[in-house]
Structures are given as C-alpha cells and as structure tokens.
C-alpha cells in the first residue's frame, strides 16, 4: 500500500491548492453557496477547463486524461478542506464509473464521457433510492421511482441511477428534477422522479457505491484535518485567564485526541483510495489477471472507510465548535459549515448499523 502522493499527484495537489487560494476564499465559498444553483458556475468552468479537472477520470479516447481514483481524490480532498461548493465529487465518480464500464456499456460511455470531460455536463448519483428498472433489451430499458436525496442533482445533466444491482445512465431532461434547500448549504440536493425514463445500462451499481464511499471518506478526512488545524490555531491565540487557552490540559488533551482521530482517518481513507485505484487498474488489465493477492478488498474497505472517516469528521467538527466557545456557535464562523457537512455526509452514507452489517458480512465475521 502506498500512503504518500506520487510525484504527479503531488504536482496536481499544488495546482489545485493554488486554484483554491485564488478562487475558493471563504467569501467566495459563502457567495457560491448562496447562489441559485448552490455553486458558482464560473468557478466550475475554471476548474473544468483551466485546470482540466473534469477530464481527469475520463479515458483519453473520450477526451480525458485517463487518470484514476488516486488522482481524483486530490481535488476531492482539497475542495473538501475548504468546503468549495461544486459538483466535482459526484461528477468525478460518474466519470470513473462510466470509464470502468466503457467496455461492456459503450453506448452510455460514448454518449456522456465527452461532455463530462469538457465540463459541459455534470453527473449525479441516485444510489440506494426506491427505483426499479423495466424492459428487456438494452435498447428499451426504463427506470421508474424517486430519488429523494440526490446530491448535486439539480444541475446535473447525467444521472447514474441504481435499480437493484444494476446501474443506468439517465438524461436529467428525461426526469423531473426538484431542487431542494439543504441543511448543508455547501452541497445541494434535488428530489428526482423517474417515470419510465429512458435508461442506458451502465454496468453494475457496486463500483459506483464503492467509489462514492471511498471519495467521501477521503473528503471527510481532509476536511477533518482542516477543522483540527483551524482549532489548534485558535487554541494557540485565544487568551483567557492571562494565557493561551491551549495551555490548559483539559483542552490540550481534547486536541490530542482529535489529532489521533485525524491521523487514523487520513490513513484509512488513503488505504481505501489506494485500493480503489489498484482495483481500477486491475480492471483495466483484466486479461492479465495479475491482481495482487495482498490488495485489500474494496467491498470491505469502502464501507469501513466511510464509517470511520465520516464519524471522525463529525467528532472533529463538533469539537471545533466547542473548543472555539461562543464564536464557534455563530453563523459568521465557519465551524457550523463543517459540522453540517459532516453530519449530512454521515446521514447520506446510511446508518452505522447498516455499514457494520455490510463490513461484517464482507469480512466474513458475521453469519451471512
């Protein structure tokens, strides 16, 4: 397992950080989340075209850079750190999924990947929703049902819809999309209804679910690290009783516990990203069938990383408010934005009991 950035990933991270410093300042983030779509289309266009981030996960023959989850995780982490509102994560997962399914589902890949690559189309995922599929042949499949919590769904042109174990690509224009106000204003959702909407097969739902969880875990770990950094800075500068509050053991010990939690979340997210990246690479060379026996199983690691990193993020964001005292309770301070992102992410990932059951089953701990 590799836990450090490759040279290319490190360069990419520097470029994304430079972008974030210019285009994702706290004021810009707040302005974006208050806008009609919940994100700033100009920032999206810049990151899609100037930085070429939208094309990252799209195979070269569809106009992309042909990178994998290891590279996609870099902007996901850096945007997560500052809570930049953007459909990047959803759209990148859609691109990774379609790229992985391109061989068996060339129609969906050919129709959507070029648009995802140039950023003219964004994707959203409708997973775990109450949706069923009809139709017999690939040409006349339809989906019917409702997705109540479709993250980044309002502006998406492509919807990847789970129906049972299958995944379908549906044009948003073939569905009824209702934008929603969200508790976490940095990440909007939509309610989407499908009434016998035309659906192109896009492979199995499992890779979409796994990649979504892995990248959310990476985002949670990075955002948690940011919360810790902001909080530690405050503990060093805020003075009460004539000294920095960070000199009080009651607070130092809590900060230390958060540092331990953040270290563990970062490592776990990294392990999951690495596993997703090597699995993807193995898929792309399936003929050779040389997947390492040492590689961990994504069916275990994706729910495990999602469980651990989302609750760590929530723990750190909650402590961020408490350790800032009154200022941490204000709208003006950024702590509430992280707290809301953390809880929303955790709720969208589903109850811990369900993730545990999945982990226990996949790891062979619990009876099937």
């Amino acid at each position: 397992m590799e836990f450090a950035d490759s040279a290319e990933q490190s360069d990419l991270r520097s470029a994304v950080r430079a972008f974030v410093r210019r285009h994702a300042t706290p004021d810009q983030v707040r302005a974006a989340m208050a806008g009609p779509t919940g994100y700033d289309p100009k920032i999206w266009e810049r990151l899609a075209t100037e930085l070429g981030l939208a094309a990252l996960a799209v195979p070269e023959r569809f106009g992309g850079a042909g990178a994998g989850p290891g590279e996609v995780a870099v902007p996901v982490e850096e945007f997560g750190r500052v809570l930049l509102p953007s459909p990047y994560l959803s759209s990148a997962v859609a691109a990774l999924v379609l790229a992985g399914a391109a061989a068996e589902c060339p129609d969906a890949a050919g129709r959507y990947l070029p648009g995802l690559a140039d950023g003219s189309v964004t994707g959203a995922l409708v997973l775990g929703a109450d949706v069923t599929a009809d139709g017999g042949t690939a040409d006349d499949r339809t989906v019917t049902g409702t997705g109540r919590n479709v993250v980044d769904g309002a502006a998406a042109g492509l919807l990847l819809v789970q129906a049972g174990a299958e995944l379908f690509a549906v044009a948003a224009s073939d569905a009824a999309v209702e934008p929603l106000e969200t508790l976490d204003q940095t990440r909007r959702q939509a309610a989407i209804q499908f009434d016998r909407a035309r659906a192109m097969p896009a492979g199995s739902a499992a890779p979409a679910i796994a990649l979504y969880r892995v990248l959310l875990a990476a985002e949670c770990a990075a955002a948690a690290e940011q919360c810790l950094g902001v909080t530690v800075d405050y503990l060093k500068t805020r003075r009460q009783f004539g000294r920095p509050i960070g000199s009080f053991q009651a607070l130092r010990h809590r900060a230390a516990d958060l540092a331990v939690a953040v270290s563990s979340a970062k490592a776990t997210a990294r392990a999951a990203v690495w596993t997703a990246a090597t699995n993807t690479a193995a898929d792309n060379t399936r003929a050779s069938n040389t997947a390492s026996a040492e590689s961990a199983d994504l069916s275990v690691l994706a729910p495990l990383a999602a469980l651990h990193c989302s609750r760590t993020f929530l723990q750190v964001a909650g402590e961020m408010i408490q350790l800032h005292g009154g200022i941490g309770f204000t709208w003006e301070h950024e702590a509430h934005m992280y707290f809301k992102r953390a809880k929303s992410t955790q709720l969208l990932l589903g109850p811990a009991s369900a993730l545990r059951a999945e982990i226990g089953g996949a790891a062979g701990l619990l009876p099937a």
């Binding site: 397992m1 836990f3 530690v232 503990l235 060093k236 000294r243 920095p244 960070g246 000199s247 009080f248 053991q249 130092r252 010990h253 900060a255 230390a256 516990d257 540092a259 331990v260 270290s263 563990s264 970062k266 490592a267 776990t268 990294r270 392990a271 690691l301 495990l304 469980l307 651990h308 009991s353 545990r356 059951a357 982990i359 226990g360 790891a363 701990l365 619990l366 009876p367």
Partner: protein, 392 residues
C-alpha cells in the same frame, strides 16, 4: 540485501523449523499477563534466535547487527507474531539498551555489551520508574555516589519487568544531589546479581507477577559503566525514546488479530454473535484493528520534519499509535468477557484465569505503562500540535 519476499519466506521457514520439539509448547506463551510462563524455555529460545542472527536486525553490521531496512524489520515482527512465537525475554536489551549504546555508548561499551544481547545470553531490565517518579520521571530519587572506581547506589525502582531474570539493569539515578529535576541524573549499567540488590515481585490484579520492585542498598556499578557523561542521563534516556520508531507495533497488531479471533471463535461457539449489541462491538473491534494497521503503515517508519521546535504530528507517531491501541485493547478485553457472559465470572483452580479474563484485567495496564495515556496526550499536544505547555 535480501529481497522482501525472499526474506519473509526465510523468516517463515526458520520459525517453522525451529518452533518445534522442545520449543513447541512455547507457541503463544509469555507476554502481558503471562510473563511468568516458560521462562527458562524462553531464555533458551532467545539464545536460539541469537545463534541464527535474528536479534539486532536493525543494528549496523559494524556493531554485529544485520543492518536491515525498516521493511524487513516489519516483516520479521509480523511473521514472528503470526507464528505465535513466544514473547521475547530479551526485548529490553535489544529494543532499549542496544539502541542507547549505539547512540551514546563508547566503542568499549558497545564491544562489551552488544554481543551478549545479540547472542541472547545477556538479559536486561529497565530501572526508570520509582514510587515517587511515575509519570513525573524527572523526580527520580535513587542516588548514586562515585567512590574510587565504583558507583554506590541507594534507592528503589518499581514496575521493573523481568528483573528477576535479568543479568543487568540500566538505571536512571541522581548523581548530583544538589541538582534538581532532569539535571544531575546519570545513566548507569548495574549488574543485577549482587548482594546490594533485592528483588520483590509485585502481585498484580491478575494474580500473576510480571513486575518487580528493585531495592538498591549500597549496590555497586563500575565507574566506567556510565552511558554519556555524569549528569547527562536524562538526555540519554530520552534519546532512546526519540529514535524508537515502533517497528514492534506490527508484531503487536498480529497478536491483537489472534486475540480478536479467539473472541470471535467464542462468540460463534456460544451464540453471542447473534446478539445485536455484541455483534456490533465485534465488527467495531475488527474495524478498529484495520484502522490501527493503516495508521501504523501510514505513519511509522517515516521521518518527521526534523526542525527542532516545529510542531509536526509525525514526530509523535509512537504516541499517536499508543493512544489508538491501548483503549482499543481495553475494549477488546471488555468484549471478551461480555461475549463469554456469566461463564467469565468463574476462575480456574488456584485463580487460573482464561484468555478472556486475563485480557479483560491486564489491559487496564495498557493505558498506564510506557507513559500513561495522559502523558501521551501531553506529548502529542506539545510536540505534535505545538500547543503551549501548561504550567508545572
């Protein structure tokens, strides 16, 4: 340099060829709560390890070690634990005194002491803690006075693991009675078998004794057997801790895996796995084990930013990892007896405890020894996060 996979095969092959015959009963023996088991046999096992050069893997070849890189050391610890090889009786010499001599010892001291550790023939114990100096180690009050060619020691050490079997003890003693705190301490090498030393076992809450009290009543050490200069003992003792990179963590985690599997087997056998609360805790214990493994892999063995005064969590990885594993291990102990249920309330004849009972009781020590978790948090806060010290 052997290739990593070849080295792993080599370790595995050696263990399966040697952990047989007279050593077969040692599988799974020793370690926390069980250090009293098979001591003579484990001393013989230590010599067998030494004879085939499995001690001092990390030490430089010029000092008799094998100069192997981090990855190989991890492999050795993993395979050692996977095979259930017995807890080492020589680890204090290999992991603590040896590295100290490599950093601070004279050429004469290295030539004199390292070969015995490498051969597994010379066992060491650590004389740091005292009744009045636990978390506050700088409060050491054992005194040593130089008279001619000998140090004379008076005082008491406590929580001294394996003192009853050790040939030597490295002792942190106050050699300058006028100095305070961490000034005026010296790091002395003291032979254990002498009239001035008395060892009394401490009976722990497990009913067994791993730890001892060691009393010095005009005990003697040769004038030359001091590491570093007189008064330099604090720097020497702390220097060893600073280079400890926690390679043994990987072996320890393999041991945790075995303990977890024992709990899981009990839960399957007695139906506890069907209880929703217990099954949730079983999965959480397993999740915690994976998280600790990834954290150790991501952090240990990587150099920290080495600018003094700069806060960097990477400088405190051993502390971070201990803050993860010690509470996890305690929860596993609690889970072990909860899975067993009321059966865990019955002890064997002579207060012979089973694995789960011992785990439940002994893991209370995990958050205390080697620096209590409160001390670990102080270190992470100060050295890792750069938070100001609290007034002491």
């Amino acid at each position: 340099m052997p290739d990593a996979d070849a080295f792993r095969a080599d370790v595995r092959g050696w263990l399966s060829a040697n952990l047989t015959g007279e050593f077969a009963p040692l599988v799974g023996s020793g370690g926390p709560g069980r250090e009293h088991e098979f001591v003579q046999e484990r001393m013989a096992w230590e010599r067998r390890l030494g004879a085939d050069s499995w001690i001092g893997l990390a030490w430089p070849e010029s000092d008799g070690g094998r100069g192997l890189p981090w990855r190989h050391q991890v492999i050795f610890h993993e395979e050692y634990a996977r095979a259930g090889a017995p807890a080492r009786v020589g680890h204090i010499g290999e992991q603590l005194l040896g590295p100290t001599l490599l950093m601070f010892g004279t050429a004469e001291q290295r030539a004199r002491f390292l070969p015995g550790i490498l051969a597994g023939t010379q066992l060491w114990c650590q004389g740091y803690s005292e009744p009045g100096a636990g978390s506050d180690l700088a409060a050491v009050s054992t005194r040593a006075r130089l008279d001619g060619d000998q140090w004379h020691l008076d005082g008491q050490k406590v929580w001294t693991s394996l003192a009853q079997f050790a040939d030597w003890c490295f002792v942190l003693a106050r050699t300058d009675p006028a100095a305070e705190r961490h000034h005026g301490l010296s790091y002395l090498l003291v032979p254990m078998r002498q009239p001035g030393i008395e060892i009394r076992p401490i009976v722990q809450l497990t009913g067994t004794s791993e730890f001892n009290e060691v009393f010095f009543d005009d005990a003697r050490a040769a004038a030359a057997d001091i590491v570093g200069a007189p008064g330099d003992g604090w720097r020497v003792a702390m220097g060893t801790l600073a280079v400890e990179r926690g390679v043994s963590t990987f072996g320890q985690q393999m041991g945790f895996q075995r303990e977890f599997e024992a709990v899981l087997a009990t839960a399957r056998a007695n139906g506890a796995i069907d209880d929703p609360d217990l099954s949730a805790r079983i999965v959480e214990a397993w999740v915690g084990l994976q998280v600790m493994r990834y954290t150790a892999m991501a952090t240990l063995g990587r150099p920290a930013a080495d600018s003094p005064g700069t806060a960097d969590v990477a400088r405190t990885v051993a502390n971070v990892n201990k803050l993860l594993w010690a509470p996890w291990h305690q929860r596993l102990g609690e889970l072990a007896v909860d899975v067993a249920g009321a059966a865990a309330t019955i002890a064997g004849p002579g207060y012979d405890l089973d694995h789960g009972q011992r785990l439940f009781l002994y893991t209370r020590a995990d958050t205390i020894y080697g620096g209590s978790n409160e001390i670990q948090r102080n270190i992470v806060a100060e050295r890792g996060l750069g938070l100001p010290r609290d007034p002491r």
